[in-house]
């Protein structure tokens, strides 16, 4: 599903965010990307959805090298995956419901159907009462849940979640990961960046540890290593 071949990512003028990353993630995996702040977690995800391009090396997603893909190809790729941004990126002028159903809108699905599916999704994340609110009126944690719901509504093949629980308390964190695990067990490949070590330990799933842009370790079962 995802293949990084000796990827180096430099941000001009001289910041090296990723430094020779080699990873392979198969379809149907659930993978954590862990590491301290500034380790390069977000950069890794951005390379996968084509927001940034590798300075050297290759990033292949769903069988296509992103360096050779044109804008239309990248747009199509983005429509087929779900992304939870670290800073949520909700449309501030659109209601919570409209935000959650945005991916469906881009697929040209009619309003009535979008509404129905969107309400069901909001039910799932416990925000159905805020359907008509605008995102700025929501708490940070609520916005984060909306961002997760938006990334999942269209049954993406791949879910990229950048710090999906950064703003949530323990209980909400569990609820969100329940959702991610549910998506995973329904067949979605999940890649989640986090520095929440306790959830990594608890779920005990494959974890790639980054440090200063380098892969420090790739653990199939991190709890056993402890």
């Amino acid at each position: 599903m995802i293949h990084f071949r000796n990827v180096i990512k430099r941000y001009p003028p001289k910041e090296v965010a990723l430094d020779g990353v080699d990873i392979r993630i198969a379809e149907g995996e659930f993978v954590f990307v862990a590491g301290a702040s500034g380790a390069g977690k977000s950069t890794l995800l951005r390379l996968i959805y084509g927001k940034e391009r590798a300075s050297t090396g290759e990033v292949v997603v769903a069988g296509r090298n992103l360096a050779t893909g044109d804008a239309a190809h990248i747009a199509a790729l983005r429509r087929s995956i779900g992304i939870v941004f670290q800073d949520y990126r909700l449309l501030t002028r659109r209601s919570v419901l409209e935000n959650v159903t945005l991916a469906l809108e881009l697929q040209g699905i009619p309003m009535a159907v979008r509404r129905r599916l969107g309400m069901e999704m909001l039910e799932l994340i416990g925000l159905s009462e805020r359907a008509d609110a605008l995102p700025p009126a929501l708490s940070g944690g609520e916005q984060q849940r909306v961002a997760v719901a938006r990334a999942l509504i269209h049954r993406p093949k791949l879910l990229l979640a950048d710090e999906p629980t950064g703003n949530l308390d323990v209980k909400m964190t569990k609820a969100i990961f329940d959702l991610l695990l549910a998506a995973h067990s329904a067949g979605v490949t999940v890649l989640a960046a986090t520095h929440n070590l306790s959830i990594i330990e608890e779920l005990n799933l494959r974890t790639i540890v980054l440090d200063k842009g380098k892969v420090l370790g790739d653990f199939a079962r991190p709890s056993r290593v402890e």
């Binding site: 927001k51 747009a75 990126r89 699905i109 009619p110 549910a182 067990s185």
Partner: protein, 337 residues
Amino acid sequence: MAESAPAVRELIRSVEQDMRNALTSLWGQSTNLPSMTLLGKGEAAVAQLWRSIRSAPFTFLATLCTVSLTFSLVAVFFLLTSNLSSSIVVSQQSLRIRVFLKDGASESEMKQLQAVLEQQSFTESARFISADAALDEFEVMLGSHSAFADGLSRDNPLPQSIELTLREGTDIRQAAAQIETLDDVDAFSQFVFYPQQSAQRLEELLALFQQGVLFATFGLLAVAALLVGSASKLAIYAHRDEVEILKLMGASVRRIVTPYMLEGVVQGLLGAMVGCGVAYLIYMLCADSVAQSSMLSLLFPSFHYLSVFTVVALLLVAAAVSALASLFSVRGLVREQ
């Protein structure tokens, strides 16, 4: 931690099971979904347009006002030229040439000239018109304004002339040119005149004026394009965060640009409608006074409003120009992000 993990995982698994059921049921509904009908797309576009106008009503209004002003000028120009062009209807049938005599030409000189003119092959008849007769003719032409002619009659400045009536089928221009080459004409007359000549001059002038209007129209359309284009640029700049998110979600450039283009088209169309309205207002206000003024009714014998064709064409051009203007000013910005 290691001991508690299995229990916690058990708990999570049961919650996860419920969640998965909910998710799969939700996703199950989203296979084979109908795609949006044309009506649905239109509805969505209007909703988005309305949202966009509401988010920056003053920018929208300011653009609308300036675009309206531009199209008002275009419409009024069209009103003027379309009426002017249909006003010059000089009878091409009249085959008459007048040879005006020099001041103080004597009776014998006049007779000599008349004889020469009568000899020409194209001449049917040649008639002498005295200064007094010319004044009478002038009075008839002026009609209700003959008080003006009264003033003239005290010291009649009108020249004597000989009016030639040409034979059927003569080319009046050639005849006039031939007359001008005669020695006697050169000696005793001040100028040769035929109505087609002035009509031709007037038509040339009018053509020049219409060309000017055409250029001015192109200029004004360029101004409108600039206004609409920069308004679209401003709108997309104000929504740049939204544009970026849409791009990250995989929206195509076309999908992102379309609402801004639509907004531009609405501005152009509304502006053109206002323009046609302003022209109509001017038409209503002026129609009576044009009909009553003999000077103006000479220029505009029948003063009418723009034809339906012109109005429709103006609206279509406005829509097309503003669509292109906003497309080109916005597309680059969207691609770049």
